[in-house]
């Protein structure tokens, strides 16, 4: 692929982050089973899970900025703006 500059190490790091978050979900289910409701921790956990695609978009934004591909940079900025809109729509 054209975008093979995104390193395997960063893919591995994100994969590890995903596993840690899912591990957190498992802990929250076990805690709930024993009558402990950790709603605020769960909220944070899910917010982080939802943020992973935003992190990936930011990662590519940096990649395209480095390569001075301003067409793709503007696409990603607009996309981030739209994702931010999801956080502000009521």
């Amino acid at each position: 692929m054209r975008d093979n500059e995104i390193s395997l190490n960063s893919i591995k790091a994100i994969n590890l982050f995903i596993r840690v978050l899912i591990g957190g979900v498992v802990v929250s289910v076990v805690a709930f089973h024993f009558g402990v409701s950790i709603e605020s921790a769960q909220k944070t956990l899910f917010f982080l899970i939802l943020s992973i695609p935003v992190l990936r978009t930011l990662q590519f934004l940096v990649h395209y900025l480095k390569n001075k591909e301003f067409g793709m940079v503007s696409v990603l900025l607009f996309l981030l703006l739209l994702l931010g809109l999801g956080l502000n729509l009521k």
């Binding site: 289910v29 409701s37 739209l82 994702l83």
Partner: protein, 275 residues
């Protein structure tokens, strides 16, 4: 006790079946939770959206390692898909449950028909002719049959139509809690000429961004049931891993036909539940 483990089990089975035949779980999760486990559709759709996101982010790294994701194409199409997802999420709490059931029935029927057509149709790859550039959106992929790296181009003149179709796919994703991969993959392959493997990997990557948009909306508006979501996500994550391993040993073509039949049945059940 049973009620505690049922969502985990359902998430596990749905993701296992989904991963082994290459579809997301949303289209099965929503009917099962609403029709048989009697959860309100307004609770199930946000939970299913989170599950779609988890499926996407856990499946994408292996596709990235194989260099199958076309990021440029994904990001450009996401502009309209995310807009669609935000509109869908916005409409969820504003539509009557019966309307959502009926829309789900129609979309599930459409997905079943597309899956059926796909199982009989041939792959359409747009290969650049000799000396021709692959263009801004084209790329390379390893042909699984020949193990040779091949170039492909993208039919850019059809892009406005594909952007419109992506908006509709996003709208259904936000409103119904489905991934919409079954709609996107044929569009990417048949209309743009992207190889199936690349289309499937790119679509899986896109699902995460789409689900993040509607997921943020549901999160901010307190529409996510975190306890139910935790259980289903746990099942979906484990089921997805098992399904990906089973893919090599199960009769996938038979499973796909069974899946299509189940989908026709679910589309009818969802439609009639909305009447």
């Amino acid at each position: 006790m049973e009620a505690q483990f049922l969502p985990i089990l359902v998430g596990f089975v749905v993701a296992m079946v989904g991963a082994s035949i290459g579809v997301g779980g949303g289209i099965l999760l929503v009917p099962i939770f609403t029709l048989w486990l009697h959860y309100p559709i307004y609770v199930v759709v946000p939970v299913s959206t989170v599950c779609v996101l988890v499926t996407s982010i856990s499946a994408t790294p292996s596709n990235e390692v194989k260099r199958l994701v076309n990021y440029r194409l994904a990001f450009i199409l996401e502009l309209s898909t995310v807009l669609g997802a935000l509109s869908g999420a916005y409409f969820l709490s504003r539509f009557k449950a019966s309307v959502i059931y009926q829309v789900f029935g129609v979309v599930a029927f459409l997905v079943a028909v597309l899956t059926l057509i796909r199982s009989f149709s041939k792959e359409k790859i747009l290969k650049p002719s000799k000396g021709q550039e692959i263009g801004i959106l084209g790329g390379w992929f390893t042909n699984s049959a020949t193990q040779i790296e091949e170039a492909y181009a993208v039919r850019e003149k059809h892009f406005p139509f594909v952007m419109g179709a992506s908006y509709v796919a996003g709208l259904f994703a936000g409103l119904l809690g489905i991934g919409g991969g079954a709609l996107k993959v044929p569009i990417l392959n048949v209309i743009l000429g992207v190889p199936f493997r690349v289309a499937a990997a790119t679509s899986t990557f896109m699902l995460g961004i789409t689900a993040a948009a509607s997921g943020f909306y549901f999160f901010i508006n307190h529409q996510i049931d975190f306890d139910l979501a935790s259980k289903v996500v746990m099942g979906v994550f484990l089921g997805g891993k098992v399904g990906a391993h089973l893919m090599r040993s199960l009769p996938v073509e038979v499973l796909k036909k069974v899946f299509t039949l189940i989908l026709f049945f679910l589309s009818f059940k969802m439609w009639s539940a909305g009447l």
